[in-house]
């Protein structure tokens, strides 16, 4: 295995490509995501997208946030060569909603909101509450793992260059 700090920096791009692909899939092929990711009912872009453009040796950061924000500026940034570095997602599994942000370079999960759990009324409830929250965190983590594995298999296949990149470019420049 490669050294940790070397591999972290060398493969940052993989997480950023993952998020760009995921945005494309959510917009253009949600059916395929639902079919390949167990239990997933719907997946939508949430209230925050961050992009970075380092073309022409200039670092430009574009952040789009807000529940009703339009994503046109994000597409425009992609047209100029930006990549997605953070993506907020809203997903439904078994009629319950999770919302979280994935950071591309680290795959950290930030601002993870699980479905609401009941209030903690008794000290003896702590164990039940922890186990319930652990289960709910696990559902979101499993979903991210499935999405990333799905992406990896596509990314490492011959399809990636032959059909996926042209489709993503078609979406960006439509």
């Amino acid at each position: 295995m490669l050294d940790v700090s070397v591999s972290y920096n060398r493969y940052k791009f993989l997480g950023q490509e993952f998020l760009t692909w995921l945005w494309f899939m959510v917009e253009k092929d949600p059916q395929q995501l639902s079919e390949t990711v167990p239990k997933l009912e719907t997946l939508q872009i949430g209230n925050r997208i961050k992009l970075e453009n380092s073309r022409n040796r200039m670092m430009e950061t574009i952040t789009i946030k807000g529940d009703e924000a339009g994503l046109e500026e994000g597409i425009l940034a992609l047209q100029k060569g930006a990549v997605v570095t953070e993506l907020n997602l809203v997903c439904n599994i078994n009629n319950y909603t999770w919302q979280f942000t994935i950071k591309g370079e680290s795959l950290h999960i930030a601002n993870l909101k699980t479905p609401a759990t009941g209030p903690l009324e008794e000290k003896t409830d702590v164990e039940g509450k922890i186990l319930e929250k652990t289960y709910l965190y696990g559902e979101a983590i499993q979903l991210i793992d499935n999405l990333f594995e799905n992406f990896l298999k596509t990314r490492l296949s011959s399809d990636w260059k032959q059909s996926v990149i042209p489709r993503i470019r078609g979406w960006i420049y439509a």
Binding site: M1, K129, I130, K133, T134, Y137, F148, L156
Partner: protein
């Protein structure tokens, strides 16, 4: 931003190996040996150790206080005394003046200045309480995974160090490469392809 918060941030790890058998006793012993000491009445400026999830201000690992179902749940606590540089500067000036007066000299040597600074910092550290920062974790020892409830770089580095010191088990942080190489169900040929992978651009002229 802990386990029971309405909004959490998580850094994920693989744990390289399982705790010694019997796991519960092994973990309890290691937690007790590396629990956080109190530094409010000492000159220490910073201390790091384990504390219990339910009583984070009193590190108590007795009974079943860190075992929930098949998970170990406890917290990393980092206590730090934060001294205002202006206060330090003020007391250094007072001590320097006293010293010059008592010796009848006009200047102090570099060693004397350093001694005065250390003395002032120790004195102030004795007077102020440490600010605690608490970060929860969930360790699934069957699946050899750990979720750490912060994405702060400094806290993650302290976790990796203290975890190895306490349990003699390494933590491998999960990020795109380690997720692909160690945590995904990729075939050998896919892993070979991964090693050769380079970025592509979606930019039309890329």
């Amino acid at each position: 931003m802990g386990i029971l918060s309405s909004s959490s941030s998580i850094t994920r790890y693989l744990v390289k190996g399982k705790p010694d058998i019997p796991a519960y006793e092994f973990v309890e012993k290691a937690l007790k040996a590396n629990s956080i000491p109190e530094i409010d009445e000492s000159v220490s400026g910073k201390v790091i150790g384990w504390t219990s999830f339910e009583t984070p201000y009193r590190a108590d690992f007795s009974g079943s206080s860190f075992s929930y179902g098949s998970f170990f749940v406890f917290s990393l606590r980092m206590d730090k005394k934060v001294l205002s540089p202006k206060i330090v500067q003020k007391y250094i000036a007072i001590e320097t003046e006293k010293r010059l007066k008592s010796t009848g000299r006009e200047f102090l040597s570099a060693d004397e200045k350093k001694m005065i600074k250390d003395h002032v910092v120790n004195l102030l550290n004795l007077r102020i309480p440490a600010t605690p920062n608490i970060y929860d974790l969930i360790w699934d020892h069957d699946k050899e995974t750990l979720w750490f409830f912060t994405t702060l770089k400094s806290a993650n580095e302290e976790l990796e160090t203290l975890f190895f010191k306490s349990f003699k088990l390494s933590l491998i942080r999960l990020f795109p490469y380690t997720m692909a190489d160690l945590a995904s169900d990729l075939s050998g040929s896919h892993k070979d392809e991964l090693a050769r992978l380079s970025p592509i651009s979606f930019y039309n002229n890329g």
